[in-house]
Amino acid sequence: MGGLTKQYVLTRFFMFVLTIWIGATAVFLIPRLAPGDPVTSMVMRMTEREGRVENAQELIAAWKERFGLNDPLYIQYFRYLGNLVRFDFGYSLANFPTTAWEMVRPALPWSVRLLAVALIFSFAIGNTVGALMGWRKTPSWLQNILPLSLTFTSIPYFMFGILLLYFIAFQLHLLPASGGYSRDVTPGWNLPYIRSVITYSILPLVSIVLTSMGGWALGMRGLMVGVNNEDYFLLAQAKGLSPARVFFRYGVRNAILPSLTALALGMGGLISGSMLVEYIFAYPGTGYTLYRAIITQDYTVMQTICNLMILITATSVFLLDLLYPLIDPRITFRRSQM
């Protein structure tokens, strides 16, 4: 008993595929439920821009044919699924010859890098702060200081970003205000570029970490307070174990479990980017791309980002499911009882 069983892995994998399929179907259906169609609205935009477009009706008909929008819905659906499997997301509607994937791909590393680092920092700091706040043996001076670190949580993160921008970038000139890297470095594996990327990411990073760690901390505090009253926690103290061992092996080890689930779910956010923060700092990530796509009604780019989000979330939940029985031995057991 305990550990991974074949049936457990297969069930989890089935859930993984099912999640992606349902998500992709929703992404396919939702724009088609909305009134109007992207081709007409694009041609109308062109008409607005240029005053008049020759043969607008023929243009719409030709493009509908080109994008296969005249086929029955189920044909479109199967073609969509087939393309998805080959990672073909179609052309960007707003920037025609460019594909949606080409629009999203350059932004991906920026967002994933920024948000993965932010997620790691806020998870680690938040949970540490929370665990210490919830532990009875934490020295009282620390107990009094720690809640102060959570004051930023009540500020919306984009507001906090604007404050940082104003004071640190414009008033004190300590850090750059916008962009992904300095204009006078050449992108590539060279030190000035890497240093520039790091410098430019500090402000967005700080505004995300400081405003999001409170959530982790409060959750962890509650769980830790619960663990404090568990019989096994008291018994661990009675055994004469060192406080650190009691704290980690009997306290945090148990209290962290629900946070890990939340962490896996938070992974999906890596792709969607942190739209407002990226917008404020003009950071070249997917959040900014998504923002551009929304204002230009670029459905295919939006769909691409949504599908990637679903894929990443489902993957991280699947991986967590595989790890969970190793972290919490009760999981597989419960499943097999059903």
């Binding site: 008993m1 568990e230 018994l235 057991f333």
Partner: protein, 330 residues
């Protein structure tokens, strides 16, 4: 009745122990000047209704009273060392080596995410750091065998064990360092009757084999009657009677003990519950005089004026009651 000879050394001595819980509406006196001792190799029962302070006394002996509780007064001597004056570090070294705990038989005494071998190993390694791996494994397997558990329990997680098995793991863990004193806090509660017997028997076996002294907290009077050598009866934070088990059950002296004994259910007669719940006074404001005056059928003005001290009426038999004292003197 022949009383045991009292030459056996005292292994645990609680002197004048007071524990208060500090709340915003005043201090709750959970234990008030508690005095008792435990002789080497004996089992002493600490009984009383819920909320009377039994567990508080146990936690105080272990130096694990949780905030907002505090030991406000008293001394606790275990095997020649006074615990209240020890530093956190000295205390940690003494714990489990001199003083082990068998927790309540509830489901939560073992860490759900660690294997039995890790939890037992933790306790042993915390005090014997240089122990080799093979020796440690041998030790744990021997301990499991001592309490009648199969060797496969070694690799198991708590959720794979039944309630009785978990409790026997806890007993095995408690005897791991061969401590002179074990505190068992309602070791058989939350277990069914058959399993209760098995666990109780395991405790008795262990006691017989190792000569360990035990303080057994509980409210199951029937079980106490069969297991312990002496009984201490607690009411509202005060000890009201301490005496040999036969004396307590056959001839209880304190009115509260009498009510308690009379309330033990039996199959022969359906009797009304003599001890009624919820009549205890506010523990923040104990009345002047006897602690039991509001529920005592024999209360007099003397009881309302002054508090009777716990006095030795017969060898090894202590009672805190004016009526009993005057009856004896008369």
């Amino acid at each position: 009745m022949i009383h045991r000879i009292n030459e056996t050394p005292k292994i645990l001595e609680v002197k004048d122990l007071s524990v208060h819980y500090f709340t915003s509406r005043g201090a709750v006196i959970a234990a008030n000047s508690v005095n008792f001792y435990l002789r080497q190799g004996e089992i002493m029962g600490l009984v009383g209704e819920s909320g009377c302070g039994k567990t508080t006394v146990a936690m105080a002996i272990l130096q694990m009273v949780q905030s907002p509780g505090k030991i406000t007064h008293g001394e606790i001597w275990v095997d020649g060392e006074e615990l209240n004056s020890l530093s956190e570090r000295e205390l940690r070294q003494l714990r489990w080596r001199k003083l082990a705990l068998v927790p309540q038989g509830a489901m939560n005494s073992l860490n759900p995410v660690l294997k039995i071998k890790e939890q037992m190993g933790d306790a042993i390694l915390a005090h014997e750091r240089q122990l080799g791996r093979a020796t440690l494994k041998q030790r744990i397997l021997q301990l499991l065998d001592d309490v009648g558990l199969p060797a496969r329990v070694y690799e198991m997680f708590p959720h794979e064990l039944s309630g009785g098995m978990k409790q026997r793991v806890c007993i095995a863990m408690a005897i791991a360092l061969n401590p002179p004193v074990i505190i068992a806090d309602e070791p058989t509660s939350a277990l069914d009757v058959v399993v209760q017997r098995v666990v109780a028997q395991t405790l008795l076996d262990v006691k017989k084999r190792l000569g360990v002294s035990m303080l057994m907290i509980g409210h199951d009077m029937g079980l106490q009657a069969q297991m312990v050598d002496r009984v201490a009866v607690m009411y509202a934070g005060n000890l009201v009677e301490v005496g040999p088990v036969e004396a307590i059950f056959e001839e209880p002296l304190h009115p509260y003990t009498q009510l308690l004994i009379e309330s033990i259910p039996s199959i022969d007669e359906r009797k009304p519950l003599k001890v009624t719940e919820g009549l205890t006074h506010d523990l923040r404001n104990p009345p002047p005089g006897c602690i039991f005056q509001f529920r005592c059928p024999y209360v007099t003005d003397e009881c309302r004026a002054g508090r009777p001290p716990l006095e030795e009426i017969a060898p090894d038999h202590f009672v805190a009651c004016f009526k009993v004292k005057s009856a004896r003197l008369a």
